[in-house]
Homo-oligomer: 214 residues x 2
Amino acid sequence: MREAATVENRPYHHGDLRRALVDAARRILENEGPSALSLRAVAREAGVSPAAPYHHFKDKGELLEAVAFVGWDALGEAMTAAKERTPDLGARMTEIGVAYVQFSQAHPALYRVMYDCSRDKDELPEGLQDKEDSAYCQVRETFRAFAGPEVADVDIELATIAAWCAAHGLAEMNSFKQFDPLKQGLGGEEGFLRAVLSHLGMFPAARAKANGPG
Amino acid sequence: MREAATVENRPYHHGDLRRALVDAARRILENEGPSALSLRAVAREAGVSPAAPYHHFKDKGELLEAVAFVGWDALGEAMTAAKERTPDLGARMTEIGVAYVQFSQAHPALYRVMYDCSRDKDELPEGLQDKEDSAYCQVRETFRAFAGPEVADVDIELATIAAWCAAHGLAEMNSFKQFDPLKQGLGGEEGFLRAVLSHLGMFPAARAKANGPG
DNA sequence: AAGATCATCTTGACGCCGTTCAGATCGGTG
DNA sequence: CACCGATCTGAACGGCGTCAAGATGATCTT
């Protein structure tokens, strides 16, 4: 009885359960939020027993890491798109930041999982910083292009970190009710994001440049 | 049998269980971290049954809110102390930010509970923004004093929000391993914090001022 | 083609969790 | 003193993460 091994027409061995579990987790995150994301729920959603995931992930945390990895990939693409559609170097950082926060707003539960994983391991996800075209490197190169070659490497690095911190902070606080009145006066969410982010992430040399020689 | 109602010499009615539970929760947070903070563990630590907390808190979330409230209070005091020990207006914001991040570093589990509660309710804790001497108002007044009266209210507000986002972001990312090499070149943790925060939270008018007329 | 091997999946169990409810206890009010 | 309402206990429920033992079937060997 090769077919119909269970009630549905699913064979005993799934074939690609690892991917199916990650997809199921993402579906639950989008539809029911992070609090509903239990390992058992993921297994249920994927149509397997509660113990099945343990043949593909060491524990729940490792499954979440796989979900987070997909998320960082998508966020990186959104940032790249923002960079490429903004040729003006002075505006590019802000636009990348807006794309960052908008991603976190479009996928709040996923973003939460992404950062919770990073916090648990006390590091940004590997691959985000190492690869040449990684999101982190793109931000750094944007600063470098704007600042010019006379700015020290350490300042470029600091500016990148500062911008990242600011974007993350805003991503987590953007939905706070206290900001609503201010948003109305700034043309809605996007105007608010642009206004806040334009205050951030510029290092001293770039500041002087932005403010002009006078 | 008024005394020795249980094995210990504790009366049947605790007397101040609400406070005892909050203290127990803080003890667990400090000693075992956020993952160990179950409602049952708190009750155990306080020496009562698992159901006892429900006479003082609607659910686990409400207990955590009480813990968070204590945390925000302590953080506010740390920020006030930093403000008062830094008369120079140009350096004051950075020093308040350093105090903020250092608090989150000294009490990481507590800080996590504080922000998780805020995120669940989509608002900064009440009382943090309303009171005249609240932490938020102190930051805003610091910006106002530095910027002078000619800067628009909305810019002061944006700068305050931007600075808060940056401090929160840095608080959550400060322990990331990737920053370690950079910290070594900047005089350790505190030098790193000061360097990053000096990049942040300044609004355009203040930037111009900071960079001088030339 | 037949049998052995091994990864994959299920079943059932364990202890912990948050929460609820009926009942025990006790301080304060009439 | 008798009562009442607030407080606390004990037992229970379903859900959770995880593990061990056994069932299943794809693949490799001969």
